[in-house]
């Protein structure tokens, strides 16, 4: 395998994985605070379509990104009202969000299918850093949203495990009753991180429509939201491992098509399965390793908090 091909696969993998990474980070925040949001696929589509449509309307991709964040946060708010205030079943509400997001994004995006976007996020090489061998062209020659995703991995990790609000967040996810007794506003905390999480998921959708493919087509998330949900679980709710899973997904997908081009005589169906298979295998091994140390999932994940029924 030549050097340039190697670089192309790694760089392409990161670009392809960054939408899934953003969605995983959003889901980690949501699940860590105790709310299982299965609506990722739908929220990603809402982010993708609103980013795309507002970029076309305003001719400014940053406004597009802003609207993607705002509107997917609104979707997160709807989900939060259903699950946190109304104590709705999180799995059912999550599935409803998938159907809702798919439908509403198809409706909004219908006139824009196939329209070229006037402004998009292209790869920007960072001066100096992009000259580093291997790392430079792989990591420092990406689109802005991918940079944001990579930075957010460490921001989310630091926030969750090294700050006081992060500790509050986790305590609400582990034991909302205790957190409540300690004076933490469980409902408010859950609202905040479900909404922020949704906004990140929507940002991932916008990366897909504005940076990676630069088109809007209905249902373009094509299962990436579900991949993100799986990655979060297999990554043991750890942002760095989610990065590993998402990038691995992208790299194996990029690798798969290139193996076909090189002419490896493998059934393409098998190669096309690998992106879904390999990250799960790797993260299972990771999960097995950490399992011995501590239980992975937040204790109160998926359980509505009702103060009077404590």
């Amino acid at each position: 395998m030549t050097y340039t091909l190697f670089i192309a696969i790694l760089a392409g993998g990161i670009a392809a994985g960054s939408s899934i990474l953003l969605a995983s980070l959003g889901e980690i925040l949501s699940e860590k605070v105790g709310v299982l949001n299965l609506g990722l696929e739908g929220i990603m589509l809402i982010g993708a379509v609103s980013g795309f449509v507002f970029t076309i309307i305003t001719n400014n991709s940053w406004i597009g990104i802003l609207m993607a964040i705002v509107l997917s946060a609104v979707a997160g708010l709807i989900f939060a009202v259903l699950t946190i205030s109304l104590h709705g079943n999180q799995i059912v509400c999550g599935l409803a969000m998938v159907i809702f997001g798919t439908g509403v994004s198809t409706l909004i995006g219908n006139p824009y299918v196939g329209t070229p976007v006037p402004q998009s996020f292209d790869a920007v090489a960072i001066p100096l850093l992009s000259k580093i061998p291997v790392l430079g062209p792989v990591i420092f020659n990406q689109d802005v949203l991918t940079y944001i995703a990579l930075i957010l991995v460490f921001v989310v990790w630091y926030f969750l495990f090294r700050t006081k609000p992060g500790l509050h967040l986790r305590s609400v996810g582990e034991s909302p009753g205790t957190a409540d007794a300690l004076g933490i506003n469980v409902t408010l905390t859950r609202y905040i991180y479900v909404i922020i999480g949704s906004a990140l998921v929507g940002l991932g959708g916008a990366q897909l429509s504005l940076a990676f493919t630069k088109v809007w087509i209905e249902n373009m998330a094509a299962g990436r939201g579900w991949v993100a949900v799986a990655i979060v679980v297999f990554a043991g709710w750890n942002p760095q491992k989610a990065l590993l899973g998402a990038v691995l997904f992208g790299i194996v997908q990029a690798l798969g098509f290139r193996l076909q081009v090189i002419g490896i005589s493998f059934p393409p169906d098998f190669i096309n399965m690998l992106p879904y298979f390999l990250p799960i295998v790797v993260l299972c091994i990771e999960a097995a390793k950490t399992h011995r140390k501590k239980a992975a999932g937040p204790e109160a994940l998926g359980v509505p908090y009702i103060r009077e029924s404590r």
């Binding site: 630069k214 098509f257 076909q260």
Partner: protein, 371 residues
């Protein structure tokens, strides 16, 4: 009880609203020409798998509906988008038949079984099924010979390529796709004996992200002209971004890649639909499968992109004229498959039946199709 009950009620209402919103995405467009009000209009319904704005398959069928509405007398047409395959399609078709539609056009292969089922219940209603292969007394499968446009795509690509490697983003290893891959490779070879076609199978009809990655992989592998069987414009955009060229299908993709786009087949269903309506009215309709040649006008080549030189235009135009005149037999032997086995002997050719069941690709195609 009241508080809990109220909350439950609100939840149910909100969820119902979400579902209704989600389900409400299929929209309808109907238009009538009110000429001869004395006679009942001939009602034609089109059922679309995707959305009209897809700038591809569904968009071109919608153009056909608009043409029919504008050019046939006393017709009433309706186009229904985003009809899900299966029970939904059956429901929509049954409803349309009950509402008195005379002709129902189901524009996807996936509607075939539903069409046949519904057609049995409504013997007086005519049905058409695009790209299908099963006919009934009132069901007519129809398609155009798309591979002819891919042959011309191949000629254009074979003339343009500098690396002598062409890239092909394929969807599924089914005969309709394999015909196109072969025609493309044979067309390219007819003007450039050294050319090879690398195929990447993406196992989807549309996933712009996967199509883009496949396109990038092909370009990294040395391909400098891309063809695609998938439906999105992503391959053209990838070609444009990387400074190589592309040929298209379904509709004119020039807008996505002004520098990269060479040409490509563009469906022109309108005149065909108008013909069918006339035939039904005159009682001359035959439900036998229709597989029209490009020369009938069912499929045209898109206007040449800026990258097509005058010399290339001369060759492609001449090839098209020869093809239309019947002087070119695309699948004429000798043809060998990838393993080098002779599949078509010199002097013979593939019959329509053999084409409908083809499962091998010619020897200048590289890549495992997984079939």
């Amino acid at each position: 009880m009241s508080k809990k009950f109220f909350k439950g009620l609100v939840l149910v209402i909100v969820l119902t609203m979400l579902l209704v919103l989600a389900a409400g995405c299929g929209s309808q467009e109907t238009t009538t020409t009110d000429t001869a009000a004395t006679e009942a209009p001939f009602k034609v319904a089109f059922i679309y798998y995707g959305s009209i704005g897809d700038h591809g398959w569904t968009y071109q069928h919608e153009q056909g509906r608009i043409y029919l509405q504008a050019n046939a007398t006393n017709v009433e047409t309706i186009g229904i988008e985003n009809v899900a395959v299966g029970a939904d399609a059956e429901r929509v078709m049954t409803q349309l038949a009950q509402e008195g539609y005379n002709l129902i056009v189901a524009t996807s292969f996936d509607y075939q079984e539903s069409t046949l089922t519904v057609a049995k219940n409504f013997p007086d209603v005519m049905f058409m099924n695009s790209t299908g292969d099963k006919s009934d007394t009132n069901v007519m499968p129809y398609f155009g010979r798309e591979y002819e446009s891919f042959y011309l795509d191949g000629v254009a690509a074979g003339l343009k390529t500098e690396s002598n490697i062409l890239g092909y983003i394929a969807s599924y290893p089914i005969p309709a796709v394999i015909q196109d891959i072969n025609a493309f490779a044979i067309g390219a070879r007819s003007v450039n004996p050294d050319v090879t076609v690398k195929v990447v199978m993406v196992n989807t009809w549309y996933d712009p992200a996967a199509e883009k990655q496949a396109a990038d992989s092909l370009i990294d592998g040395g391909a400098d002209v891309l063809a695609h069987e998938t439906d999105s414009a992503a391959p053209h955009q990838a070609a444009e971004a990387r400074g190589v060229w592309s040929v298209g299908k379904n509709s004119d993709m020039d807008v996505f890649a002004p520098d990269a786009f060479l040409t490509g087949g563009v469906w022109n269903w309108g005149p065909f639909y108008a013909d069918v309506v006339n035939q039904i009215r005159e009682g001359k309709w035959d439900s036998a499968p229709y597989w029209g040649h490009m020369s009938t006008g069912i499929l045209n080549m898109a206007p040449y992109g800026t990258a097509v030189t005058d010399d290339m235009k001369t060759v492609i135009d001449q090839t098209q004229a020869d093809l239309f005149a019947g002087n070119i037999d695309i699948f004429a032997g000798p043809l060998k498959d990838q393993a080098g086995t002779e599949k078509v002997a010199a002097g013979s050719s593939l019959t329509d039946d053999e084409l409908r069941n083809i499962n091998w690709v010619v020897d200048n195609v590289k890549g495992n199709l997984g079939n």
